[in-house]
Amino acid sequence: MVSPICGPKLSAYCSILSVWGIVMLGLLGLFFQIRSPTLIEDIPLENWNGTYSEAVEKFEQTAMNCWIAAGIYVVLFIFSFVQQRMHSRASYEMS
């Protein structure tokens, strides 16, 4: 059996955080995709040429970034979940 890398607390923390990250970044990506006006200040528009199409493009790009980040959190979640299972099995065998 491979010994776990993270401790039980760290892996629990990481898996909770990644669930949060998956849900929240997934939804944020959706809201960027539908171009929610309340998020207009959150897209990178420092040197905006003022056209509508560029704003749309930025929105969609940010949405994609969010989804990729959510994907990274999925990977992190699987990793920390496996770690947690290893710990619970180890503690089960101990007792």
Partner: protein
């Protein structure tokens, strides 16, 4: 099931227990946990009571059990906690228990002293082993040096004066030596001391022992060094020995010749091996004894504590003149008298006594204790109330109202759907896994505070989601669930090359309001704070005045229950009128302004704050905007009524009391007057300052909303600002920090501050209107309580 509104009806009872049945009866009552015994011998000290000896024996048993527990913990043997709850053993079983513990303790002590002696022996032998091994090199070196030192000397002076050189060269200088072991940290000081005391005439060699050794007494691991000191002459020898003694170095006899040393070394090795097997056997024996004890120790603890609690209670009883029966006095809930009777009957049967125990109700003038039956949900809120003061007997208990109003006022300050959800989920986890978490018995103060308040946190989280929904805030962002009601037809074409578009509320508003809560358009508005401030301030005033009004209304229920009609006429009615004239009227105006002014008229709507100031100054400037005609007259009338209420509250009751006491009863008019004056001033000033105090609802809500917005713009927004393939990774990292800061700062810290403010609003602003809190808690004699608190009792 009694109601939570008022505490249980209590009654004082007298118990007559046959002396042979007393023990079992009290034991049954302890299992029941519904009776609070009164100490009938308060003048006796602990040593003058009847069952001193029994209590002393129990304490002795407890001491032995604690000793065993300590030994078990030292060996890391898990103690079996089956969770079963044995009945208190009969008094005669006490002797058996005592014998068992005595035997175990003696056995343990013997094993310990044996193993200590063995370990000491073992340590000495290992030290000797190391000495023999390490000193070998020293002797070799010394011999070599010796020769190197003497050969040139011999070469130079070929012939000695006395002709003894041949003899000297044959055998080396006769050097004495001592060898021993010393703690490694003492070496430098030891060396210096030797050098100074012997003027550099001794030769010290030392080597570190690699493995740490166990100190047999303390069990610590100690690092040690082997040393050997060469010297010449007896004087130096005694001096060196003294120094060694002073430094607590252990000296060992070390044979001079190599063959002897080898022989000794072999002897030591065999002895160490023997010792090892003996030590192992001792350890096994100790382990066996402790494992057997660990199985039962929890049950033993429970038994001993129960016996002790029973005798402790019996000590509070009075002895009848005939010495045949014990008399006890106790408080118990009126509704539970039947169950207590049954318990007494069971106790009597168990003891085999033929005479039944008698429970006799007594009438008394003493104030009974306050007892509220709570379940696990209401208990947390009851604790919040009790922390301020335990309700007087049968007074209205604010806890049932607090269950709703506390989380709600908290949520007004903490309104955010996201933060509320985090809090709610955390509490939900604690509630669902309640049993497992309870069984873990985590002994951490912070954790037990959170765990104890899990239902409070659960409700606070749920209510925060609701208020967050009304404020339309999720992590400082808004949701457009019902369709924004602010519409202007901008097309993509009109947005091109036009960075400054504006929405004027007059014209873009569709006319029908957003279905529930705040319109999401406000989240992008520049004057968002100005708008929400006005909204939240008004809501705070309305919530505050209604809660205070409710508190005053509860005082009416108290006056009626305790049959004090004078308080209704002289306090309750003027209080209601006073509060209504000053702030109830203001609330009506707030509702009026909300419903009767549209966005077109926003420019010339009257200011309520200025209006309220004008009302109290009777000053209405020409250009001031009036809400309705006849406003100055009506408002003036309200102020006059409110002012008239003050003498009504202040004077009527004292004079009425004096009138009632005109036939010679003792009556201290000044005292009553001062008391009434204090209450009146407190109420009148309180109404004003408490209303202002409720504005904290707005202030904290504003602070929370702003802080979460700042966190979003300063941290989370950074994550969106990157380009290229690095962007998602940066987003992952930024989210990580943002999430951490959200939980620590916004949920935990802000949550605590909002909690404290909500608590204050309940303790001061709400409860001061009706709650006395001068009672004392009902503390029944209950095993459950005693065992949970580790047997500490007073």
């Amino acid at each position: 099931m009694g109601s939570l509104l008022r505490s249980e009806e209590m009654t004082l009872c007298q118990l007559f227990l046959q002396s042979e049945a007393a023990y079992t009866c009290v034991s049954e009552l302890g299992e029941l946990g519904l009776v609070q015994f009164r100490d009938l011998n308060p003048d006796f000290n602990a040593f003058q009571r009847k069952f001193v000896n029994e209590i002393r024996r129990c304490e002795e048993m407890e001491r032995k059990l604690r000793f065993l527990e300590k030994e078990i913990k030292k060996d890391g043997i898990p103690m079996l906690d089956t969770g079963d709850n044995p009945d208190a053993p009969a008094p005669r079983e006490m002797i058996d228990l005592e014998a068992t513990f005595e035997k175990l303790e003696n056995e343990m002590k013997e094993v310990n002293s044996n193993s200590e002696a063995l370990k000491k022996n073992y340590l000495e032998l290992t030290e000797l082993k190391h000495i023999l091994r390490k000193t070998q090199t020293f002797f070799d070196e010394a011999e070599f040096q010796h020769q190197a030192m003497h050969d040139p000397y011999l070469g130079e002076e070929t012939m000695g004066l006395l002709g003894e050189e041949s003899q000297r060269s044959g055998q080396p200088l006769r050097l004495g030596f001592v060898a021993g072991v010393i703690g490694r940290e003492k070496i430098p000081a030891f060396e210096r001391m030797l050098w100074r005391a012997c003027r550099g005439n001794v030769f010290l060699r030392q080597a570190e022992i690699d493995k740490a050794m166990e100190d047999p007494v303390t069990g610590d691991q100690v690092l040690k060094s082997v040393f050997i000191i060469f010297f010449q002459g007896d004087q130096l020898k005694s001096r060196v020995k003294k120094i060694c003694e002073g430094f607590r170095a252990t000296l060992y006899p070390c044979p001079e010749t190599q063959s002897e040393r080898r022989e000794m070394s072999i002897g030591v090795m065999t002895r160490i091996e023997d010792l090892n097997t003996v030590l192992g056997q001792t350890g096994d024996h100790r382990h066996r004894v402790l494992v057997a004890a660990a199985k039962n120790i929890k049950v033993w603890f429970i038994k001993v504590r129960k016996i002790k609690a029973i005798y402790h209670t019996l000590n509070m009883f009075n002895l009848d003149v005939t010495q045949k029966c014990l008399i006890a006095e106790c408080w118990c809930p009126f509704a539970d008298l039947d169950r207590i009777q049954q318990a007494l009957q069971r106790g009597t049967e168990r003891s085999g006594s033929s005479v039944p125990s008698i429970l006799n109700r007594m009438s008394t003038k003493q104030e009974p204790p306050t007892y509220n039956r709570n379940n696990k949900l209401t208990q947390g809120f009851q604790n919040l109330v009790d922390a301020y003061g335990v309700a007087s007997y049968r007074e209205i208990n604010p806890a049932p109202f607090t269950i709703i109003s506390f989380p709600f006022l908290f949520a007004v300050m903490f309104g955010d759907m996201g933060h509320g959800l985090i809090m709610f989920l955390f509490a939900l986890w604690m509630v669902i896994r309640e049993k497992q978490l309870q069984a873990k018995k985590i002994d951490n103060e912070i954790w037990s505070t959170f765990f104890g308040g899990r239902y409070i946190i659960l409700l606070m989280g749920a209510f925060s989601m609701y208020t967050g929904f009304i404020y339309n805030d999720v992590f400082s962002k808004s949701l457009n669930l019902f369709g924004c009601q602010c519409d202007k037809d901008y097309t993509p074409a009109s947005l091109d090359n036009n960075q400054h578009l504006q929405l004027n509320p007059n014209g873009s508003y569709t006319g029908t309001p957003y279905a529930i809560g705040l319109d999401p358009i406000w989240s992008v508005a520049l004057n968002k704070i100005a708008f929400t401030n006005s909204l939240k301030m008004k809501t705070s005033i309305i919530l505050g005045v209604s809660q205070m009004m409710f508190g005053v209304a509860l005082s009416f229920l108290n006056h009626r229950y305790f049959q004090r009609p004078m308080n209704i006429i002289c306090e309750f009615i003027p209080q209601v009128i006073f509060l209504f004239c000053m702030f109830g009227y203001l609330c009506i105006l707030i509702f009026h302004k909300w419903t009767h002014y549209t966005s077109d008229m926003a420019g010339n709507a009257p200011s309520l704050l200025i209006g309220a100031i004008n009302m109290f100054l009777f000053n209405y400037p020409k250009h001031s905007k009036l809400i309705y005609s006849g406003q100055p007259g009506f408002q003036g009338f309200l102020v006059v009524i409110a002012v008239l209420c003050v003498p009504w509250m202040l004077l009527v009751k004292p004079f009425l009391l004096r009138y009632q006491a005109r036939y010679g009863q003792p009556f201290d008019f000044a005292d009553v007057m001062i008391n009434q004056g204090i209450h009146t001033i407190e109420y009148c000033l309180g109404c004003i300052s408490h209303t202002a105090s409720y504005l904290r609802l707005w202030a904290l809500s504003l602070a929370h909303a702003q802080l979460s917005e700042v966190l979003w713009t300063m941290v989370m927004r950074l994550g969106f600002m990157f380009d290229g393939f690095i962007a998602p990774f940066m987003l992952v990292i930024v989210f990580f920090f943002w999430a951490g800061a959200t939980v620590i700062i916004l949920v935990v810290m802000e949550g605590l501050s909002a909690f404290l403010h909500a608590l204050r609003l309940h303790w001061v602003e709400f409860q001061s209107k009706f709650y006395k809190g001068e009672g004392y808690m009902f503390q029944p004699f209950s095993y459950e309580h005693i065992l949970d608190h580790g047997g500490e009792e007073n």
